[in-house]
Symmetry: C2
């Protein structure tokens, strides 16, 4: 049972700063490669990531079965990735899957869970969406739960509007703890930071990292951080130290790097980059409906990027 | 392993005629109620349905975990519903879930499986979609597989275009056996029937039942058939017997009945009707994000329908 009283209040372990939306390396048979996955997570932490959002859009989370997500999560923790830095995607169209995945995330000590709205049915209204998230909180039934609303309408076709977010925060203060906002809408992010001061706002792209931090948000969770984490961390640290001009210059370079990748299908492009940067063929595999980048586009991508600045 | 040669040729057990997109009754804790589910399936067959498409959009299939779908499928067959009449929805964003569900459907002797395209990622292109369905066929690896492509762009945001369908039929003739087309687009259905004569075309609404049969299609799979199966069957039988005027008159009445329900959220309205018609409270429960019809709208719905003509 969820207890309103004990869940509220600030939580120092809440995800903040630079989080990678971690790619999931897969074997040739398209099974997550736990060894390469762990190595990549540890490398991202060493490169400056504060946290790791695994099994999000970039991590092909919805392309994995619940059992596959559970096995990969357990493998990460067993192999030395601390649960505290993890923000696993536990979203699913099926309430029962989200509950099962969220409980498992708590069991490994995850900092929070990133939850998509159920994305099959459209136009079900705020009441249905509220009821979904409320059932997740009630069924997980653990005051340690920190639920992040994952707003990515270009994939889900679902708008998590401010009235719904407000209603969820009011019902479950401290537990409905934040959001990853992948709308790319600077205005919306600023509004969220202003309207909900005790709610953690993380932008879905590092292009908005400095803007979000300046608006009082917590940072970003981004796909491209798989290869830009060192620079993204420097933006964060310069801002935290009050070195505004430096932060701005670094953000400009970070935005340029991101822009060099944005013209390509994001997940195929990032996996192709990882294959190049690590020399590991495991990065060439994607689960359908995603496909690898064709060689012509891969060549364009690689020739347009300063590889030594990445990873 | 899939063998091209042995899969082709006509299959007398392919689903055809009037199929219900079966509702899934749920207990108060939102678990599928196997007893009420079986009773409903047997009642639909007794009322004239040729087949039962369980776990589709109407059956809240994507709101159930894979384990829940498997348990409900097994319960149906154990309790006396013949596998031959079943066309279970086995679609999922996760390839491995679709494979597991499709294998289980074959194990209970299902006539076929109804497979959504993976619906999280958008704009991945025909190559990615082709690869998804191809991997399903290859991984199920059973010549008895009869895969129906489930086209419902208003939920999935994915267009299964004719070039993709053509490519799949060519790669897996007889195995990629048909489609449920929920576009509501009469022209598209006619084109599918004409372009792919050995491919089973089932319309997603009984409004198009007679049109589809006259175009050479196989029939319909429809949500409202949960309550209109007797009349829908009479349309089918009048057409089959060449009684064209009678078929047309019956279709007109069937279309009117459907129209009386179409102004309401479909699945909530149908569950509310089932609660009224059976007196069983189990029909009042829906998994979020779906919600029950509010009482005012329920009253409108019930007062506008000739309940004695239904079920």
């Amino acid at each position: 049972m969820y207890h309103k009283e004990s869940a509220s209040g600030s939580n120092p372990t809440l995800p903040r700063g630079v989080l990678a939306a971690v790619l999931t390396p897969m074997d040739e048979d398209l099974t997550p490669d736990h060894k390469a996955f762990t190595a990549h997570c540890l490398r991202l932490l060493a490169a400056g990531c504060h946290g790791l959002a695994v099994f999000g859009t970039t991590g092909e989370g919805t392309s994995l079965s619940t059992d596959e997500r559970l096995a990969a999560l357990e493998a990460l923790v067993e192999n030395g990735v601390s649960g505290e830095v993890l923000l696993p995607g536990t979203g699913s169209c099926a309430l029962t899957d989200t509950v099962r995945l969220s409980r498992a995330a708590l069991e490994v000590g995850a900092a929070g869970v990133l939850v998509l709205p159920p994305f099959y049915y459209k136009d079900t209204g705020d009441d249905g969406l509220f009821r979904f998230f409320a059932e997740v909180v009630e069924r997980v039934g653990d005051d340690r739960l920190r639920l992040y609303l994952y707003h990515i309408p270009q994939m889900t076709g679902i708008d998590l509007g401010l009235p719904l977010i407000s209603r969820l925060i009011e019902a479950y203060p401290g537990v409905v703890a934040g959001t990853k906002d992948s709308s790319g809408d600077r205005e919306r992010i600023t509004t969220l930071c202003r309207e909900f001061p005790d709610f953690s706002v993380l932008a879905g792209t590092e292009t908005l990292l400095l803007d979000t931090l300046r608006s009082g948000g917590e940072g970003c969770i981004s796909a491209t951080v798989n290869v830009t984490s060192r620079l993204a961390r420097r933006v964060h640290d310069a801002h935290a130290a009050g070195r505004d001009d430096e932060a701005e210059a670094l953000q400009k370079r970070l935005t340029e790097l991101r822009a060099s990748i944005e013209g390509y299908p994001m997940i195929p492009a990032l996996k192709r980059l990882m294959a190049e940067l690590t020399g590991d063929e495991v990065w060439r595999n994607l689960r359908p409906p995603l496909s690898g980048l064709d060689e012509k586009r891969a060549k364009d991508l690689l020739s347009g990027l300063p590889l030594s600045e990445l990873l």
